[in-house]
Every structure is written in structure tokens, then in C-alpha cells.
């Protein structure tokens, strides 16, 4: 049935198989044959049905000119004229009858051909217009679908006409279930203050209500898990020539990543400025005292200044490391080396910084690992520095190494103040918790543990801590052994 319909549908050939030659040819032949049969067999007087035949022929030519263009109309005309000549030949017309037959045929033929040309030409233009518009629409749809932002287009009532893939990715399929903006279809959208936004206040609904454009409004999409999605939404209405609103379009961008980067940047700047302010403060005080000629021992003050500048230098190196970690640009150069040797070297350097603490390491022999020697030295230095710092009263700091299958575990044990359970979970995770609810901070942890964690992670190792308040802490990390 559909096939038959397609044969008859004047627009069916658009993008379908091309019947523009065969169909007018055979149909016109069939019509001529049927006309001849009707004229000879059914009608008593063949001449009396001439009017009907001409009428049917007109219809045929118009139909095929419209269906298949100029070519279809002309083919049909050609077959019909042939049939008319056949009639003149078959009926043995002579004299005046013959002449008028020929003239009628030529005149009708010219009219048919003219109709075929005019209608075919118009049809061609209409087809081109339709095709061009369809192409434009296809192009537009492809562009809209490929856009990295979500797009929704509605009519003037707010009924959704079109969405792109990204829109559904961002807001979920549920967003278009109820197909009207202005009804509560997505109830998880909240504003900057986490207040639920009724759908009637969505930018698109507001643009439709007021006729004004809404640009770059920010919302939070609270999903099931803790991770919020931040949205930036713009909307405007589309007007026709006389200014009547005919549709509205809204663009939704997922700016979660940008927000994250922004947040991390803020955290980093906050931490950097905090870390730098402490040595800066003592530097300023020492320099002030030198300028005012205060303090008895100026050489001692200058030595303190030197120490503080070294501290600043180390801080800046750490800050750069943190920045490299956050942008994924920390580079490692892996070497085979003896970890016991490295520990001994590190201890030698670190023992110089304290007189209250005794750093001990008993292991003898060699233990080969494949790692970045400088970076592992950095981790050891960080852990021993913390052990010294958090045992202000002094005591022993024990370093232990233990070889197990495929890996080596290194432990740094202090007799310091210990770490509370609450802090245990956070010390590796956050650089600094500068402004939580009570503005409480976990001080003195700096960047060392964060950097250490990243270094060990990149060596496919693990780092963790065990601690008892008042008794001390033990930091462990593992490295893969070099067989």
C-alpha cells in the first residue's frame, strides 16, 4: 500500500528511486490504451468521448509535469500526441477531417508541452526550495548536535521542539519528559544559594514571559551524589518579521570543571600566601631590628635572615611542585639505586638541623629500588622534618625498612604529639583547610605530605600513617623493589 502511495505521491521521488522517465511513459501508454478501448468497445460513438479523453490527457500531463518535472510532462505529451496520430491513421480521416485532426493534434500538443514546461519549471523551483531548506535544516541540526553546550528550542508556549545531545547529557532525559518548560520537569535545579528554582523562573520561561534575553545565569544541579553540577544558562526569544515571539532558545553550559579549577586556584593562592607570610614576618622583624640598630648580636640576626630566605626558597620549590602536581606536569626520572644508602645520606643531612632529636637507622646491606632518587629523598626529608617538628620536646626518630614480596616498606617513627583521628584522614588529602565552617585549620602540615603522597602514588606505592595521641606517629610508604 505504501509502495502504491509512493508511486502516486508527486513528492515521492525526492530522495527515492528515480521513476521520472518510466512512470510517465508507461502510465501515458496505459491511459491511451484504456481510452482507445473505451472509445471503441463501450462508447457507441467514439467521437463523442473525445472531450473526456482530452480532459484526462490534460490531467495526465499536469500530473506528470508536477510529479516528475519537465521531462515527465514532455514524455507524457509525446505519448499522447502519438496516440492522437494513431487515431487519425486508424480512422482513415480524409480531406477537411484529416486537416482539422492534424491541426487539433498540433494545437493540443503545443498546449500540453507548454503546460509541461511551465508546471515542470515551477515544480523544479519548488523542489529546489524545499531541498535547500531541508539542507539548511540538516546543517543546522548537525551544528546544534555537535555543540559542546546544551541547546533547547521551544515554541512560544514553551513546548519543547528540539533538544541536542548535550542538553540531555547535562540535564538527563527526565528534563524533556514533560515537554513544556514552565512545568516542574527538573526539580533538582537550584540557584546559587541552593534554593530550588521553580520551572517558571527558568531563564527560558522568564525570557518567554518578559521577552527579554537572560544571559549567563548560574545554577547548581544537585544530583544524587554529592557532586554538584554547575550550570550557566542563557535564553532568548526568537521573533518573526513583525516582532511576534515565535520560539525561544536556551543554551545550557556545564561549567563544573571551570568552577573546580577556579576553586583549586583559589585554594592554591590562599595556601601559597599563608605559607609565605610566616617566613616573611620573621624576615621583616629581623630586618626592622637591624635597621633600628636593635639586638645585640647582628651577625646572629643576619644568620637568622639567611635561614628564613632558605626557608622561603624551599617553600617556593614546594609551591611549584604542588602546582606541577595539580597540572599533571611533575616529571620523574627513574633510576636503580640503593634505598638504604639514600636513607643514610638523608639522615646525615637532617641530623644537622636538630640537637634535640636522635635519628636512628639500623639496616645494613643494600636494597635496590627503581625510583626517582631525588624525589624519594624529598619524601624522606618531608617525613623526618615533620617528625622533628611534631616532637618539639625531642626524642628518638627511628627509620626502618622492611622487604616483602615485590616491595619495600619504609617507616619513619617519631615520639611526638601524635595526630588526632579527625586529622588522620585529612593530612594527605588536603593542602590546607583554610575556611571550613568554623574557619578551623590544621596547621603546620604544609605541603610536604601532599607532595609526598603524589610522589609515592606516581611510583605505584602507598603512603599511610598510624598514630597515637601523646605517643607519636609512624609514617609508612612502599616502593616496588627492583629485582
Amino acid at each position: 500500500m505504501k509502495k502504491i502511495f509512493n508511486y502516486l505521491n508527486p513528492f515521492a521521488h525526492l530522495g527515492e528511486k528515480d521513476y521520472s522517465f518510466t512512470l510517465p511513459l508507461f502510465t501515458s501508454l496505459l491511459i491511451s490504451l484504456l481510452s482507445e478501448l473505451y472509445a471503441l468497445q463501450i462508447a457507441k460513438d467514439p467521437m463523442s468521448v473525445g472531450g473526456y479523453i482530452i480532459f484526462i490527457n490534460f490531467a495526465t500531463v499536469i500530473y506528470f509535469a508536477f510529479r516528475s518535472g519537465i521531462r515527465g510532462g514532455l514524455i507524457s505529451t509525446f505519448i499522447i500526441i502519438l496516440y492522437y496520430f494513431y487515431i487519425i491513421y486508424d480512422r482513415n480521416y480524409t480531406g477537411q477531417l484529416f486537416t482539422s485532426g492534424i491541426v487539433t493534434t498540433l494545437v493540443l500538443g503545443s498546449i500540453y508541452a507548454a503546460i509541461a514546461l511551465i508546471i515542470g519549471y515551477l515544480k523544479q523551483n519548488i523542489d529546489n526550495l524545499i531541498e535547500r531548506e531541508a539542507d539548511g535544516k540538516r546543517r543546522l541540526e548537525a551544528i546544534v548536535d555537535q555543540m559542546p553546550v546544551g541547546v533547547v528550542i521551544t515554541d512560544s508556549e514553551g513546548n519543547i521542539l528540539q533538544t541536542n545531545k548535550q542538553f540531555i547529557t547535562i540535564l538527563g532525559r527526565d528534563a524533556i519528559k514533560g515537554t513544556k518548560i514552565g512545568q516542574d520537569t527538573v526539580d533538582s535545579i537550584t540557584d546559587f544559594y541552593h534554593k530550588k528554582i521553580p520551572a517558571s523562573q527558568w531563564p527560558l520561561a522568564q525570557a518567554l514571559a518578559t521577552g527579554k534575553s537572560m544571559t549567563k545565569k548560574e545554577y547548581t544541579l544537585a544530583k544524587d551524589n554529592d557532586n554538584n553540577t554547575y550550570l550557566q544558562v542563557s535564553a532568548s526569544v526568537i521573533r518573526n518579521k513583525v516582532g511576534k515571539t515565535i520560539a525561544a532558545v536556551s543554551v545550557v553550559s556545564d561549567i563544573t570543571q571551570l568552577k573546580e579549577i577556579d576553586k583549586r586556584k583559589d585554594e592554591f593562592i590562599n595556601m601559597a600566601s599563608h605559607e609565605l607570610k610566616t617566613p616573611l614576618t620573621s624576615l621583616r622583624l629581623y630586618i626592622d631590628s637591624l635597621l633600628k640598630n636593635r639586638g645585640s648580636d647582628q651577625v646572629k640576626t643576619l644568620k637568622s635572615i639567611k635561614l628564613q630566605t632558605e626557608k622561603l626558597q624551599q617553600l617556593i620549590a614546594d609551591l611549584l611542585d604542588v602546582s606541577r602536581i595539580q597540572t599533571g606536569k611533575m616529571i620523574f626520572s627513574m633510576d636503580k639505586f640503593d634505598i638504604n644508602d639514600l636513607i643514610k645520606e638523608t639522615i646525615k643531612d637532617m641530623q644537622k638541623t636538630t640537637t634535640k632529636h636522635n635519628i636512628k637507622f639500623k639496616n645494613k646491606g643494600s636494597l635496590m629500588v627503581k625510583a626517582d632518587r631525588l624525589r624519594i629523598n624529598q619524601v624522606l626529608t618531608n617525613l623526618i622534618t615533620n617528625a622533628i617538628k611534631f616532637a618539639p620536646l625531642g626524642g628518638n626518630i627511628n627509620i626502618l625498612t622492611k622487604k616483602t614480596s615485590g616491595k619495600i616498606t619504609i617507616a619513619v617513627q617519631d615520639q611526638g604529639i601524635g595526630i588526632t583521628k579527625d586529622q588522620l584522614q585529612k593530612i594527605f588529602e588536603r593542602l590546607y583547610q583554610v575556611s571550613d565552617a568554623q574557619e578551623k585549620t590544621y596547621p603546620g602540615l604544609g605541603m610536604g605530605l601532599y607532595i609526598s603522597k603524589e610522589i609515592i602514588k606516581r611510583h605505584n606505592g602507598k603512603i599511610w600513617v598510624e598514630s597515637k595521641i601523646g605517643k607519636g606517629s609512624t609514617f609508612y610508604f612502599t616502593l616496588p623493589l627492583k629485582n
Partner: protein
């Protein structure tokens, strides 16, 4: 001679402040640990306390709050120090008499100390001791 206690977990800060205050004629004692601060206050009986917010293990503001609740210590002026200038508000809420944002210079430090030592409530704590 007024006595000042410096509580900060950064040795260089303690050192530099001690250097300046002793030079200015104050008697100075210091501690790097927040827990030790209470003992020092009991034995040293300072006329003024310089207290850092960020201390290893404890929050300086908690120490401040505790001292301000204790009748024997509540009249000792406390100046809180922090690198977070935004902490000024919370320092006041915890009862601190004043706030000094890092980094600061000698003049700011000495002026602030002078201001609080002149106040009558600090004299009262002097007579109490």
C-alpha cells in the same frame, strides 16, 4: 617591667619577636606548643599574651577562649596573630583583645602591645599577680 608570653609554633617567629621585645625592655617567655601555654601562663604570669591561631595540635582561638573564661587569666590582654587576615572576626568572637595580621613590622607590634598594657584591665591583672 611588663612580662609578655609568645605562643607560636614557628621557631623563627618566636625568635624574632623575642629579640625585638627583649630589646624594647620587656621580659619575654615563649612556647612552641599550645598545650604548654597553660603551664607557662601559671608559672610566668604574663601581663600580655601574643597568641598565634595556627598551633600544632590545637587552635589558638580555643586557648584564648579558655583563658578568657578562667577568672585568674581573663584580664590578661591577648593579641592573636594569623596570616589569615580574615580570621580577625573569629578572633574577636573567641575573646581576643586585638589582632595582628602577618606579616607585621616592629612598630605595629610595639604600638599594639603598648596600647594594651596601658589599659586599666591589664593593670588590674598586674595587681592581682
Amino acid at each position: 617591667m611588663a612580662k609578655i608570653l609568645v605562643v607560636d609554633d614557628d621557631e623563627s617567629i618566636v625568635d624574632s619577636i623575642t629579640l625585638i621585645l627583649e630589646d624594647a625592655g620587656y621580659r619575654v617567655d615563649s612556647t612552641l606548643s599550645g598545650d604548654e601555654a597553660y603551664n607557662k601562663i601559671k608559672s610566668f604570669i604574663p601581663n600580655l599574651i601574643l597568641l598565634d591561631i595556627l598551633l600544632s595540635g590545637v587552635d589558638g582561638r580555643d586557648i584564648c577562649k579558655k583563658l578568657k573564661k578562667d577568672t585568674t587569666t581573663k584580664n590578661i590582654p591577648i593579641i592573636m596573630i594569623s596570616a589569615h587576615s580574615s580570621a580577625v572576626k573569629s578572633a574577636q568572637e573567641y575573646g581576643a583583645n586585638d589582632f595582628l595580621a602577618k606579616p607585621f613590622g616592629i612598630d605595629e607590634l610595639l604600638e599594639m602591645i603598648k596600647k594594651h598594657l596601658k589599659k586599666p584591665n591589664s593593670n588590674r591583672s598586674l595587681s592581682a599577680s
